[in-house]
């Protein structure tokens, strides 16, 4: 086929080599240290290592995080002062990647990372949490509602073994304490574009215990397999979730009905559609319905549709006219008789 790579005319192109990479790469000296209030942190990446021995740079933008965004505070109430905001994170970032990075540049220890493309966890108040932030004042005394994970909302099996971040994702790295955070920010400033000598490659230094699935072909093969779940699991998953859904609907319906009969605290009763059978129809309604039916039955009947009907109708009319004429004639004759009788009587 003409689309085969061997038959394509690629004379205007060159396969990636160190020269080409050097000509298009963006070296740290060309990137400003501060950009709109964020500090630039160059990170070496070995993704093009097979084409060029020189490293390529990826640039992160870091600044202290100002947690005014309500959902984040709700999810992580005690991160004030110990979190950094990181923009333009690589697509394959994980907590482990960032942990390794900050360890390498001499920053503090990361407790957790909040990625902007991941749903925020529900607010937790477990014992571990309290242990970790023992010296902080709790602002609220009531614990948050426990997460409601029923069969109805049970998650589907994951289709991908590793989630990648879409472009434009940002992250908030939460450090164990304020000092660690400050130390990290300092390390970032020191290793910025004016001093890009850090020999750390993105993705290295992650502990062996943290198994991060490989990208590329194996990932897609794994995805293809995970698209077809075990039928038994699927059956159970569907049965459970639909049953739970039905039960919830039933419970809600019952609750609604119950409320229909009970006045609330102000004395009002919510009006709902009743499930009682309708009362038998009254005599008027029956008469009305009969009338309608009669009308409907007559609808299809046309008295003068056929020719013979029209002829008969005409005959009837003629007969009627004739009889009227006969009547009129009789009346006239009678009147005449009476008049004659009268005149005769008068003459007599």
């Amino acid at each position: 086929m003409p689309t085969e790579s061997s038959s394509l005319d690629l004379s205007a192109f060159k396969v990636l080599d160190p020269l080409i990479i050097a000509s298009i790469s963006l070296s740290p000296s060309n990137v400003a240290k501060y950009h709109k209030g964020l500090t630039t942190l160059p990170v070496r990446s070995g993704s093009l290592a097979e084409f060029s021995p020189d490293p390529i740079f990826h640039y992160l933008f870091v600044k202290p995080h100002d947690p005014q965004y309500t959902p984040i505070i709700n999810a992580h109430p005690n991160i004030n002062g110990r979190s950094l905001y990181i923009s333009a994170i690589p697509f394959d970032s994980t907590v482990h990647h960032l942990r390794a990075l900050f360890t390498a540049i001499g920053g503090g220890r990361i407790e957790t990372v909040i990625f902007s493309d991941e749903p925020l966890p529900p607010r937790s108040s477990t014992a571990d949490d309290r242990d970790l932030i023992r010296n902080k004042k709790r602002k609220r005394s009531t614990p948050a509602a426990p997460s409601k994970q029923t069969a109805e909302t049970a998650p589907w099996l994951p289709l991908w073994n590793r989630k990648l971040h879409p472009p434009g994702t940002t992250a908030v790295a939460v450090f164990v304490d304020k000092a660690a955070c400050e130390l990290s920010m300092k390390a970032v400033t020191e290793n910025s574009t004016d001093n890009p000598n850090l020999e750390y490659f993105w993705g290295s230094g992650i502990g062996h215990g943290n198994l991060i699935p490989q990208l590329g072909k194996t990932r897609y093969e794994d995805h293809m397999e995970s698209m077809f779940p075990d039928p038994e699991w699927a059956q159970k998953f569907v049965d459970d979730s639909l049953e739970a859904y039905d039960n919830r609907l039933k419970a809600e319906e019952e609750e609604r009905r119950r409320k229909a009969n009970e006045p609330d605290e102000d004395g009002f009763v919510t009006v709902v559609r009743s499930s009682r059978p309708r009362p038998p129809p009254s005599a008027e309604e029956i008469a009305e319905r009969l009338k309608k039916e009669e009308k409907r039955s007559q609808k299809g009947f046309y008295p003068n549709f056929y020719r013979f009907q029209q002829r008969e109708l005409k005959k009837e009319q003629a007969k009627h006219l004739l009889s009227q004429f006969e009547d009129a004639k009789r009346q006239v004759r009678e009147r005449k008789d009476i008049r004659q009788h009268r005149s005769r009587y008068q003459n007599a």
């Binding site: 689309t3 790579s5 990636l16 093009l48 965004y69 434009g168 908030v172 590329g216």
Partner: protein, 1054 residues
Amino acid sequence: MVHVLVSKVNTLAPYFKSRMAHDLSISQSRNSKKRKIFDSHGFKDAPNPPLSPLRRSYQKEVADLIRLQKCSAQEMSQVTQAVENVKRVLIDIKETTFVSIRDAEAMFHSHGVHIPYPECGDCIRDGGVCLSSPTRVEAEWGLGHKMLPKSEHGDISVDLFIEIPSATFHPKDYLEYRYHRKRIIYLSYILLALKNTQKTSDYSYLADFMDGDEFRPIILVDCPSSRCKIRLIPAISLSIFPLDKLSPNTCRADRQNDVPTPMYNSSIIDDAYHLVALDALQKYAVSNEGFKEALILGRVWLFRLGFSSHLLDGGFGEKEWALLQCHLVETATTPSRYSTSADAFQTFKSVLNLIANTSIHSQFNISILHQRHIDFNVFSKMSRWSSQALIHHSRAATSLDKLGIPSRAQVHSIFENPLYHISDIAMSFPIDSLQIGEMLPKTVKRWNLKYHINEYCYNLFSKGLGDRFKMMIFSTPRPHSKQLKDALDTPPQNPDVYGLTIFITLDEKMCRRVLDYGPEVQDTAKTADFREFWEDKAELRRFKDGRVMETVRWDSNSPPTEQILSFLHRKLTASFQTTEKPAYQGLESGIYLANPPLLRPADDSHETTVSEFEMIANAIRQVKGFPLGFRKISGVSPSLSFTSVEPPVPCSRYLGPPLEGELELESSSMWPVDPEQRSRTELGLLLKLRAELEATGNFLTVRVGIASASRLHSMSCFLDLLTKRQFYFRFRLRHTLEILPKKAGVNLPADPSLGIPNVGFMHPNKRSSLRASTIQRCYQYQYFSSSVRILKQWFRSHHLACFFPGDILELFIAGVFSQYSPAEIPGSTYCGFRRAMARISHWDWRRTPLEVEILRHFTGDERAHILKAFGTYQHASPNNEACLSVVLPGEDGEVDWIRHLIPRLVAIRMTQLARETHNRLSSTPTPFQAAFIPDMSFFDFVITLKRKSDPHESVGKYSNLSAVPKKFGPLPLYQEFVAELKVQTEEYILLFPSEDSLTIGGLWKAKNEPNIPDLQDSANLAVKCGISNKTAILGLIIELGLGLVERIHVKVSD
């Protein structure tokens, strides 16, 4: 309301104008200013034109067209000056007397005047000849009306008729070339005078023939200063010769042979009628504006079809058209019909009607129309092929009237249609005129050899092709006019070898017939003739009904037409010493049998797939105990509607991309409202169906799969089936809840704020009905399916296919196969493709929607509404995206819209590539494959992926055919990779994956610095994170495609 309509209709006119100008390569600088005003948005504020009834709107277009044809005042004054100079010289010429013709010739030779003329025997009765100044010198009618034809280089050509005085001729001079010899003498006499006069001596003089007729030389005066060429055409008065003795079936030259000399006879008659025709034309052109305009329309129409007065161009041009128009006016039964106010387009159509209905001469097989009941046939110069082609075109154009198409649409499709010229097969081969001349009769080959060779070839080809063709056009290179050199004594010679191209329009219903029937065996004369023609191909066959007939049977493996053409070429060149292979354009075998083939032959693989699909559909319908009934089970994949580029193949080793289908369920109120619960319910239903189908044991594997439908959490489920013949199908559920309200989808979006692009480019209901109509068209037209496939292949080769859904490409082809246009239904895949290319390259998607008239044609009102609606919608589309709109006539009087948003760059690329392909294929003889070689230099970088197995290559010797393939092949993996890569890099690069995803072209997007809002909403800090760090992006590609990407090529200039 009416106001708006009118203004919208008027906005089309400038566009139409520009398109016509583009096609006719006529400069339009004069109108450009005006057009700009009309195009701009400021036109809205301009004063509204006075209300005119809509029905007259097409006249405006006609008027625009005519205005473009007129010459400027400056050009006209220069031409008039030159003509006046020549005229004055001719009138003042002195009288000369010669004792004999030979004397005269010798005298002119001695003065360096020699007009080349072939030797015509020594049968001149030597008598004295007296030459005097012409009786009349008249310029052609167009000079007074600023309507002179222009050549490609912008030179204006003007005819000057010179009446030779009657005293020059003897009444018997019409015999034996005497008239022609004296005509030459007279021309030499004029030429000498022109050369010797100071005023005209700086002009250059060329020798040419009147309309290529070698009987009648003329002088071409080239005036370089005024950029015009004056043709000096000798004429005679009507009364000199008895013209009734010159009927076509009489012999007036070479009388010893006694063979009729129709061309010789008509050459004399033609000269006698020059001035008569000119007088008539001038009379009508002055009194009747519509008459003049109709002449221009005729000129444009003939020019576009390639006809001209030249013998080799068909012998029917503007002059003959004008004579027909005069004939119409003279013979009109009602005087008012062609009165002064007559409409130009109506007159134009009347002439077409006249051509379409002229009688055919029984002997010469050409049309005849005798003007004023005398022996002057307007069609006398036409050859058989041109006569047939002209009648065919006229009938096609007049048939639009019978279909009830409004006049405006008719003007549009007759004058703007780019599909006219494209024939089904073009065949070109070198002709050795000396060798082929041997086959022609002696009397014929002396004059106009090329014309007679064309006639000979036409006879041969028309007999061989029989009813398989509708028309043939012969294209021969026209000889150039020669410089008149002093005393040059070489007679005009025909070039020995020249190229002949035959454009054949096939009858698409007949051209695939494998068996040709000849005469019955009893008819000995005809049988002998048949056997002589078909040689060893002729076979005697007995049929079931007892008849014994001569037949020719063609090999069913390759198209019969191609076999016939190569047979005929062999037959034609059998006696030649050396023969070259003819060059074809439009062969089916060039598409399927090339190496590598452009398309793989589909054979019956589509049918097999459809039957497998039907089997599954039946199995699903027979499932008992399923909670909902199946309303419809339909195929979505193009393989199921015969339009997939690759013919579907069974999965032998790997699972390939599945053939998609849809299960439509009966409506039910029990579906949960929550989309999450709905997808879980779907999963439950599919699991139930899976269990039932697995129990039947008819399938190798039955699986239920899950995929993420969108970036949101809702999942979509599907059912995968592998049949026993290893066809892999995938079915998705479609229930009534998904069906959107009709108004929101395909039909005119009343309110652009509805956000139509989010809904999808087509309503789901409409999509299924379109698919059904596509399948129907595949059965109806022989070449529909292959045309769609080749168009899709073209889009694929140029890495554009992923931006265009198959339905839109099918509509491009459906528009070409429409019967509501004067162009024929394509009779070859090549023709279907070329026409689609022509259509796409002429489509300005910024200004008009593509009208695809299937089912019915649009009414005038509908067109106005379409334009209005299009204007409203176009403003809503964003800047960097282009909206391709296609309109279809709907069923119940409504208009269906299909709108497809693609990156503007891609739309521009499509038009640009289509234009390139169209021009390349129509201008030079390029191999068809060249149109499919992508121009990779368009991309900034190219990613090549590792090539694994090809599903079409033959299975290895020892592979286990009965094993059930379980793993997916590389193609689905590649598709997943490309889809993810697109999401990851959409801000920085535009990807052009080829359909097999083996190469991916990439373009860096211009830096638009996307602003990503901070997590902190109060600060609202915009962070620039899109520095185009190209190496980082290339690194991303390598990392994401680990094990899939082979290498990345970057453009050297980078």
